[in-house]
Symmetry: C2
Subunit: 281 residues, 2 copies
């Protein structure tokens, strides 16, 4: 397994691989890998010859009061896991190599980014779009796999690819959960024992809303309130947002007539967790 | 010579060419080709196996009160000229194929775009950056040639490539002038006979400022005033801007100690013309 640490070296290798007709698959990550990431790697592996995993805690997608410094890192462990998964290349650049001091070009998505996490995290999706475009230009993947846990990010990246014509197929990787249902996340590490237990309210509330939907409920005010009640019944849980939106446009929906996304962000102490589920009539 | 009319077909062909190890050169144009464009094609040809010329009057770089509708077009003539220059592919897409009705991803450059033409043409460089990124992703060029007449655009595109890591080498093509010195431009077609004669004030003023500089003048207020006086001595000429800025940062300069760009935009009636010259101490 190659570990590549500079953008120049990565792009050089990618150009060589493309010239040899190899199909490159990319799984972009911020490291501190868990089973969710590994499932994305296995999915990418099915579609490519050369599997590249990028590990980069991208500073530009963190807000000034967010957890950039505290974000968990363990490159040695990540490297071992990538090796076990048969990853061909790990791209592990330093932030100083990824962004010039006077960097001034940014990519913004203007339709899907203003809701959900975009409200709580201004500038977040600018950072995401810009770094993903950079990774695409450095790794030159034929396909890239992104997880459905970051549902809004996934839709914004699909839009990025469509609107800027990147020659990259985006593959959606299903959410991977702990045995009790908590969506896997590098940030779960921050949780205390009691927070870890209470964090189950995200998944539980999504299951409850799915059951109500199965029973025929279509009014989103009713469905949303069920999620709110379920989350609020738990101590330490503070709702950031709970929304039921159109699955494609992320616009608010009153009565469910086509696929919607139930998306929520909840703070457990200082730790902000997200989860989501689709409802399809 | 192939003429390719859809983004999908262009990208498919480009991917085939890359797989075959061919070096692709791109000259992006808005058509109505003149000797300036042809010189860019000859320059690109020296560096590539496959020469692609795009012809696309990009609506997103025109402001609401600008000349999008009136912009001169003559595809048959352009096609003939490209054939004569040995162009391999002409990419000639319709605007409806280039932009989705709900397009929402835009690229902005935030350091070099707020001055010169960026002041007179808000949104112009967003349109330029976005369409150039799209063309890069569709044509997959190894190199692209842009003319020095659009000096600010050239620097912004170099920044775009640097900051988003596009695997594209940007080559600068020198300004091509009519025998009397007027910089070639598709918009010269708009000029009446007297305007055409008076339009020479742009080039004349740049030559005057170069002479003053050669004689040792380094104060930009003095140099700039000479340009202003020279342009204002001509009837019908209305100054949009005349600036002397740092050649790299485009920031204002008081005393010239390193390379600067003298850039001007002048309206002759309804027609806005630009020109520029570098001064190197």
């Amino acid at each position: 397994m190659e570990v590549i640490k500079t953008p120049e070296a990565m792009q050089r290798r990618a150009l060589e691989l493309k010239r040899d007709g190899r199909v490159i698959g990319l799984v972009p990550t911020m490291g501190f890998l868990h089973e969710g990431h590994l499932s994305l790697m296995r999915l990418a592996r099915e579609h490519c010859d050369v599997l590249v995993v990028s590990i980069f805690v991208n500073p530009t997608q963190f807000g000034p009061n967010e957890d950039l410094e505290a974000y968990p890192r363990d490159f040695e462990r990540d490297e071992t896991l990538c090796g076990q998964e048969g990853v061909d290349m790990v791209f592990y650049p330093g932030a100083e190599n990824m962004y010039a001091g006077d960097a001034s070009v940014w990519i913004d998505e203007h339709a899907l980014s203003g809701v959900l996490c975009g409200t709580s995290r201004p500038g977040h999706f600018r950072g995401v779009c810009t770094v993903v475009a950079k990774l695409f230009n450095l790794v030159l993947p034929d396909l890239a796999v992104f997880g459905e846990k970051d549902a809004q990010q996934l839709r914004i990246i699909e839009r990025l690819v469509r609107d800027l014509n990147f020659p990259v197929e985006i593959i959606r990787g299903p959410i991977v959960r702990e045995p009790d249902g908590l969506a896997m996340s590098s940030r779960n590490k921050y949780l205390s024992e009691s927070q870890r237990k209470n964090a189950l309210c995200l998944w539980r509330s999504l299951r409850q809303v799915s059951e109500l939907f199965e029973q025929g409920e279509r009014e989103t005010t009713v469905l949303r309130q069920a999620v709110v009640d379920s989350v609020e019944s738990v101590s330490e849980a503070e709702i950031d947002y709970i929304e039921i939106v159109d699955d494609t446009s992320l616009a608010p929906v009153d009565e469910i007539k086509s696929a919607v996304l139930v998306a929520l962000a909840v703070k457990m102490g200082d730790t902000r967790l997200i989860d989501n589920a689709g409802l399809r009539p």
